[in-house]
C-alpha cells in the first residue's frame, strides 16, 4: 500500500464523511485501493429536470422495481416448478405450498403492472419527444425491451399448462405460422413440433427463465448507461427556459430516494391486487378438449388480436403486414423526427402518436368487450 500511494481527489474529500469517523475511514481505505472516484462522479452527475411533468420520469424506475420483483418471485416459483410435470407442480404450488398462491399471484400481477408501466413509459417518452437525436440508442433499446417483456409474458403464460395457457399459446404461435416463407419453419422450431405439446414447455421454460432474463438484464444495463451518458432529456418548454430558471434534482440520491416510497406503494399494490384478485389455475390442458369459453389473449396482446379480426380470410396477411409496419415506424421515429425545437413535422408526429394511442386503446377496449 505505502509504495503505491493512491491519491484521493479533492472533490472526493469534500463529499466523503469526516476522516475520523468509521464510515469515513472505510470509504477512504476503499478509494485508495480501488480508485473509482471518476466512475462515482460519472454517476453523481446525473440530474433530473424539475417541471410539472417530472412525475413521468419515475416510470422507468418503477418498471425496474417490478422487474426485480419478477426476478425474486420467479426464482421462488422455480423452487417448486417442474417442467416435466407443469400443471401438477403449479397445482402443488397453489394448493399445498404455504403462501404459494400468494407468490404466484404477485408474479402474475407484477408482470401485468410491468407491461402497463412500460407502455406508459414509452408513451411519456414519445410525448415529451425524448427519442430525438442523440437519444436514438435509448429509444431503440427501450423498444426492444418492451418487445422482450411481451415475449416474457407470452412464454410465461404457457408454463402452468392449464387450459387457458394451452389454447392461448396455440393461437399465438399459429399466427406466426401464417407468415410467408419462414412461418411454418419458425413456428415448428418454437413449438418443437407441429403443435403445442409438452415439447413446447421445455423450450418456453428455457426462454422464460434463462435466455430472456439474460437478454433483458443486458439491455437494461445498456439502456441505463445511455441515459447516464446523455443525461435526462429536457422537454422543449424546459430547455427554452433561461439557465437561472432551470431547476434540477440530483438523481443520486435525491430523486431515487424520493422514489423509494413509490416503489413501496407498488409493492403494497401488488399484494392488494393479489389479495383481492388472486390468480386461479384452470384445469390441466387437454389438447383433445374444446377450448374454454370466451378465451382471449392477455390485455396487452388484445389490440393486435382485435385488429387482425378486421382482416378476414386471405386478407389476414395484409393485416399482419400493416401491423408489422407499426413497430418499424416506432423504431424509425428518431430518424424521421429530428429537429429541436419541434418543427411542423414533429407536431405532425405527435398528432399521429395520439391517434396511434387512441387506436391502441380503442382496439384493446373493443377486444375486452367483444
Amino acid at each position: 500500500m505505502d509504495t503505491q500511494q493512491t491519491h484521493i481527489p479533492k472533490e472526493a474529500e469534500a463529499a466523503l464523511p469526516p476522516a475520523d469517523s468509521r464510515m469515513g475511514k472505510f470509504y477512504r481505505a476503499l478509494l485508495k485501493r480501488y480508485p473509482i472516484w471518476p466512475v462515482i462522479q460519472f454517476f453523481m452527475g446525473k440530474k433530473v429536470p424539475e417541471h410539472k411533468h417530472s412525475a413521468w420520469y419515475m416510470l422507468g424506475g418503477i418498471a425496474l422495481f417490478l422487474f426485480l420483483i419478477q426476478l425474486v418471485t420467479g426464482v421462488l416459483l422455480m423452487v417448486y416448478y417442474k417442467p416435466g410435470q407443469p400443471w401438477a407442480s403449479v397445482n402443488r404450488i397453489v394448493m399445498e405450498v404455504p403462501f404459494g398462491a400468494l407468490i404466484r399471484s404477485i408474479h402474475h400481477w407484477s408482470a401485468n403492472l410491468m407491461i402497463l408501466t412500460l407502455f406508459l413509459h414509452m408513451f411519456s417518452t414519445l410525448f415529451m419527444k425524448a427519442y430525438r437525436p442523440p437519444r436514438e440508442g435509448t429509444w431503440i433499446t427501450g423498444f426492444i425491451l418492451l418487445t422482450l417483456v411481451t415475449l416474457f409474458g407470452f412464454s410465461g403464460y404457457l408454463l402452468p399448462w392449464d387450459d387457458l395457457a394451452f389454447f392461448a399459446v396455440r393461437i399465438g404461435v399459429s399466427e406466426m405460422e401464417k407468415l410467408p416463407v419462414l412461418g411454418t419453419f419458425a413456428a415448428d422450431l418454437a413449438r418443437g413440433g407441429p403443435d403445442v405439446s409438452m415439447e413446447t414447455i421445455g423450450r418456453f421454460y428455457a426462454l422464460h427463465v434463462v435466455i430472456l432474463p439474460l437478454l433483458v438484464l443486458a439491455l437494461i444495463a445498456l439502456h441505463l448507461l445511455f441515459v447516464q451518458i446523455q443525461g435526462v432529456s429536457e422537454p422543449d418548454t424546459f430547455a427554452a427556459l433561461p439557465l437561472e430558471k432551470k431547476k434540477y434534482r440530483k438523481f443520486f440520491s435525491d430523486f431515487m430516494i424520493g422514489e423509494i416510497p413509490v416503489w413501496l406503494f407498488m409493492f403494497g399494490l401488488l399484494i392488494a391486487l393479489s389479495a383481492a384478485a388472486p390468480r386461479g389455475l384452470a384445469p390441466e390442458a387437454n389438447p383433445m378438449g374444446a377450448a374454454p369459453e370466451g378465451i382471449k389473449p392477455e390485455w396487452y396482446l388484445l389490440a393486435p388480436y382485435q385488429a387482425l379480426k378486421l382482416f378476414p380470410g386471405k386478407l389476414e396477411l395484409v393485416g399482419m403486414a400493416i401491423m408489422g409496419l407499426g413497430p418499424l415506424l416506432v423504431i424509425a421515429l428518431p430518424f424521421i423526427d429530428k429537429n429541436v425545437p419541434t418543427d411542423k413535422r414533429g407536431e405532425m408526429i405527435t398528432q399521429m402518436a395520439i391517434a396511434g394511442l387512441i387506436g391502441f386503446l380503442g382496439m384493446t377496449i373493443w377486444g375486452l368487450l367483444s
Binding site: 400468494l102 392488494a272 389479495a275
Partner: protein, 464 residues
Amino acid sequence: MNYPVWNFPILGGSLVVAIIAIIHILISHLAIGGGAFLAVAEIWSNKMADGERIRKWLHKFATFFLVYTTVFGAITGVGIWFSIQLASPEATSLLIHQFVFAWATEWVTFIGELTVLYLYYYGWNSNSRRMQVFLAVAYFVIAWFSLFIINGILTFMLTPGAWTLENKDIAAGFFNPGYFPSLFIRTLTMFLIAGLAGILVATQIKDDEAFKTKIIRFSAKWVIPAAILVPGLVVWYWFTLPESTLAFYDAGMVGVDGGKMEGLARFFWLAVTSGALIVMGASVAAWKPKAVHLATAISLLLVAQVGIMGAEFFREMARKPYVIRGVLYSNALWQHNAENSAYMNRPYLSEAKWNPEIEEMSAEHGEWIYRLQCATCHTLDGYRDLTYRTRNWTPAFGVRFIEKLDEQKVMPPFQGTLKDRAALTAYFLNIHGNPVTPAQVLELYEQEERAKAAAMNANPKEAN
C-alpha cells in the same frame, strides 16, 4: 324476512359497501388523528422560536384537513349508511335498535366535532393562542369519542361477547372482547395517518429546505407509536378472535378455491406487509426529507390505504358467514330461525317480506331465490362469482350440495323446500347453457336418490 333486493352487478352489494368503507376509514382515521396532530403542533409552535412560521404551515395543513375530512368524510360516511341499508337491511335495523343511544351520541359528537373544527379554523386569526390550543384539543377529544362509540358497534359484530338477543346486555355487547385491542390499534393508526398527511402537506414547502426537513421529521415521528405498539396489540386482538375464525385462517394458508388462498390469510398479510412498508417509507422520509416530494407523500398515504383495506377486509371476513356473529347470517337469516327445522323447510319465497309472487317451479323461481338468498354476498360473474363456483354442477349434485350448504362452515344453511333447491339448481344450470326446467332437475335428483337407495338395499355393506 327480506326487502326488495339490491342487485349490484360484477361487484355485488357487499363489495360496494367495502369499497366505500375502506375509503371512509382512511379519512375518518385522519379526521381524528389529525385533531391530535393540530393540538400537538399548536403547542409545539408556541415553544419554538419560529412558531409563527410553523403556524403558517399549520394553517395549510388545517385547510387540507378541513376540506378533505369534512367533504369526503361526510360523503363516504353517508355512503356507508346508504349502502349498508340496501345490502343488509336486517342487520342495519338490528344495529340501530340495539345501539340507539350510541348512534344518537355518535351524531351529537359528529355535530360537535364539525362545530369545534369550524370555530378553530375560522377563528385562526382572531382567537387567542390558548383558545386555539383549547379548540384543537377539544376537537380531538370529541372526534376520538366518536371512535370510542363506533368501535363498540364494529367489534360487536364479530365478537358480541355476553350479549344475546334475549338479555340485550348492551354494555356487554359494547365492551366486547375485541373492543379494547381494536380501540388502541385504531387510535395509534390514526396518529400514523395524521403524520403521513403532515408529510404530504410539508411537500408544499418549496423555498426552505431546512424548514421542510423540520416539519417532515416532526410528522414522521407520528408513525413511531404505531410502529412499536401495534404488533403487540395485534397479538392481543388475535386472542380475542373466535376459534372458528382461527381455524379458518389456518386452513386458508394454502390454496382452497382453484388455487386461491383463503381471503382471511391473504388480507391479514396485506395488512402486515403494508405496516412494514409504511415503517420503511416513513424512515426514508425522515432520513432524507429533502428528497420527499408530492408523489412520495401520496404513495405513503396510498400504502396506508391498502393496509386499511387488508385490515378491514380481514375483520369483515373473520365473521363469515355471519353479519353479527352467532346471531344473524349475512343473508339476513336469523340464527334462531336457522335452528328451527320447521321454519327452514317452509317454501322460501312465501316467507320473504317482499314476496315477488312468482309461480312455483317457474323459470323465475330460482332466479328470485338467488337474488334474495345468495346475492348479498355473491354475484354471477364478478366478486365471489357463482358461475365459476357452479361450473361442474350436475342437477342431482346441485340439489344435494345446496341442502348441505352450511357444512362448508363459510355459508349459511339453505332456507327452503326441495322444490326451492331444484329451482335454484336449474337457474345455475341454465346459466351454463343447460336448458333444464326446475321440474326436470327435481326428477333427475329423485331418480338418482332412488337408484342410490336401491343400491344400498342390494348391497348395504358397500354403500356404507
